[in-house]
């Protein structure tokens, strides 16, 4: 039997998976999906800094809001660093992603070792941000992450036509007078929001899979963008809910790992289906 709290957490993870599928669909088409890897890792120092600051002011280091805000800020800094590297004209995006994700993550682990030395144990629970642990989410945490995810879906729905033009034919979008740079920024912001919302449940190491796997599976078996996004969203939601359920049943298994493996089963099914 599923308890009330578990049900809320499952729904939150499903919303998160759905939003990742939809945003991941656009990101994959635009060749941006791997940025989620850099954002996820770059969020760690922000999470640690936020928890240290909150603890210094006597607040509860477990409240999710400030931690996610810190994650978003340092994730954004990571994206800026990435742009500075690629703008040098010398470093390609793949190498820049490697530099940003490893250096920011390293800074985060140094921060964690400082937090561990703090008397009030500010670091308690922070390691869940690395591997994800849906089972430890409170009801309000799940609602916050779920609401953030639903908000992303809402933005995609509102901007569907311009985003479609951006991802399929940038020149066409420009000729229509669409603000291409602004739309690109919106897509990055959506990517950032989904990654940050996914941190507490799926963890920063594997959040990138949630953006790639459902979208990649859906692209194999659908024709047309609306169908792709719908299937990617549905697959993501199913993987999110199933992964969370598995990790609440077997508490040793990190949620992120369970979500990724469930999603990969879906990808395998899509490959088989597409080769019939």
């Amino acid at each position: 039997m599923i308890g009330h709290n578990t049900l809320i957490v499952l729904l939150g993870c499903a919303a998160l998976g759905g939003a990742s599928g939809v945003v991941g669909g656009f990101a994959l088409l635009r060749g941006r999906a791997l940025l989620a890897d850099a954002i996820g890792h770059a969020a760690l120092p922000g999470v640690v800094a936020a928890s240290l600051i909150v603890a210094a002011f006597g607040g509860s280091a477990r409240s999710l809001g400030p931690l996610l805000l810190g994650a978003a800020l340092s994730g954004w800094l990571g994206l800026l660093a990435l742009r500075a590297l690629t703008a040098s004209g010398r470093i390609r995006q793949d190498a820049a992603i490697g530099v940003v994700l490893s250096a920011f993550y390293a800074l985060g682990t140094v921060g964690l070792s400082i937090a561990q030395a703090m008397p009030n144990a500010a670091q308690a629970g922070l390691s869940h941000f690395i591997l994800g642990q849906a089972a430890t989410l409170t009801e309000s945490d799940a609602i916050l992450a779920g609401a953030l995810a639903l908000g992303c879906i809402g933005v995609v729905a509102a901007l569907f036509q311009p985003l479609r033009a951006l991802c399929f034919d940038e020149a066409f979008a420009r000729s229509q007078g669409l603000p291409v740079r602004l739309l690109d920024l919106v897509l990055l912001a959506l990517l950032l929001a989904v990654c940050v919302a996914g941190l507490p449940a799926v963890g920063l190491l594997l959040v990138v899979a949630l953006l790639i796997v459902p979208a990649a599976a859906a692209r194999l078996v659908t024709q047309g963008l609306p169908a792709l996004l719908a299937l990617a969203g549905a697959l993501g939601a199913a993987a999110g809910a199933a992964g969370a359920l598995i990790s609440t049943r077997f508490e040793n298994i990190p949620t992120g790992a369970a979500v990724v493996l469930v999603g990969l089963v879906g990808f395998g099914a899509a490959v088989t289906w597409s080769r019939r």
Binding site: L28, G31, A33, L34, H41, A84, L85, T86, A87, S88, G89, R90, I91, R92, Q93, D94, A95, A96, I97, G98, V99, V100, L101, S102, A103, F104, Y105, A106, L107, G108, T109, V110, L112, S113, I114, A117, S127, I130, L131, L205, L206, V208, A209, I212, V213, A216, R219, L220, N252, I253, P254, G256, A257, A258, V260, L261, L264, F267, V271, R275
Partner: protein, 312 residues
């Protein structure tokens, strides 16, 4: 002095060897535009290490190295399959494969007995430079005492072996590797089997990643592979400078990180000790940022506009 020998020297040697080896090989990844492969291999070896450990029940280097190399080979092949069957670009296919391998490794770590032994998740995530100790050291004379030397942490042996192999391979195949790195098409036209060379290079990188994995952790292997190479790439066009400079910078970062994390604050009487592996990665990022600034100051805007326009 005794404390330094016992507690700090093993970590210092491990960091220098890991940083030097990864820094040496990383240049080939960055020059071949395969930096993501470093990311992928350092994650994908986890299930191999766990299986190697679970099958033999021992933490000896052999089975773990074999398992890890097997996993690395499988992951490299899987990226090709996923690209073809899933009709994906390389980056997305790489992301899909390595997250899948890493997730499988995490689950295997929990369901096998590996966790109850000392192969735990923290070692994967943060590295365990601090746990490398040499308690048998009794003084400087221990450095020449075979019995005491035999009690050095076994990770050092693996790191040293891989460092020697990598150094020899790069020295022996200096010219072919240069061709592969800068102009694989030309290399192929000369009759070189580029695919095999690349596979061999990837296996060498996987071996370096395995050896460094235990001491600096999975993600910091990426820092050691990519950051020194990128820093040199920003500063030089010359092959020799790029490759040897990368190795030197990696080793220096390793040494500096370990010293700044523990011994230096302790010598100054400060009661802090930081995660050494994390500090190495942070310093590597700082060096890349400095190189970026120096380069921006050196390259005038006019020249940038003409010859080195940023890629779109």
């Amino acid at each position: 002095m005794i404390d330094f020998l016992r507690l700090d020297l093993p970590a210092l040697i491990a960091a220098i060897l890991a940083g030097g080896t990864c820094g040496l090989l990383g240049s080939f990844l960055v020059l071949r535009r395969e930096s993501l492969l470093g990311d992928a291999l350092s994650h994908a070896i986890l299930p191999g290490i766990v299986v190697g450990f679970a099958l033999t029940g021992s933490r000896s280097a052999g089975p773990m190295l074999l398992g890890a190399l097997g996993a690395a080979l499988l992951a490299t092949l899987a990226i090709g399959w996923v690209r073809r069957l899933g009709r994906l670009e390389t980056g997305a296919a790489t992301g899909l494969v390595f997250t899948g391998f890493f997730a499988a490794g995490l689950v295997l770590l929990e369901v096998t007995d590996a966790r109850s032994a000392d192969l735990d998740v923290d070692c994967v995530l943060f590295g365990q430079l601090e746990t490398l100790v040499w308690l048998e050291a009794t003084g400087l004379s221990s450095l020449f005492d075979p019995a005491a030397l035999a009690a050095l942490p076994r990770q050092l042996g693996l790191l040293a072996a891989v460092a020697v192999v990598a150094g020899l391979a790069v020295a022996l195949f200096w010219r072919p590797l240069q061709l592969i790195a800068f102009d694989p098409d030309f290399a192929a036209s000369l009759g070189m089997r580029v695919g095999r060379w690349e596979l061999g290079l990837n296996m060498l990188i996987a071996a370096a990643a395995v050896a460094a994995f235990e001491s600096v952790g999975s993600i910091l292997v990426v820092a050691m592979l990519v950051c020194p190479a990128v820093a040199l790439r920003l500063m030089t066009d010359r092959y020799r400078m790029q490759v040897l400079g990368g190795a030197l910078l990696g080793a220096a970062l390793g040494a500096l990180g370990v010293l700044l994390a523990g011994p230096v604050p302790a010598a100054l009487g400060l009661a802090i000790s930081l995660n050494a592996a994390g500090l190495i990665g942070t310093l590597a990022g700082v060096v890349v940022a400095l190189c970026l600034v120096v380069r921006a100051a050196r390259v005038s805007p006019a020249r940038l506009g003409r010859a080195e326009r940023p890629l779109p």
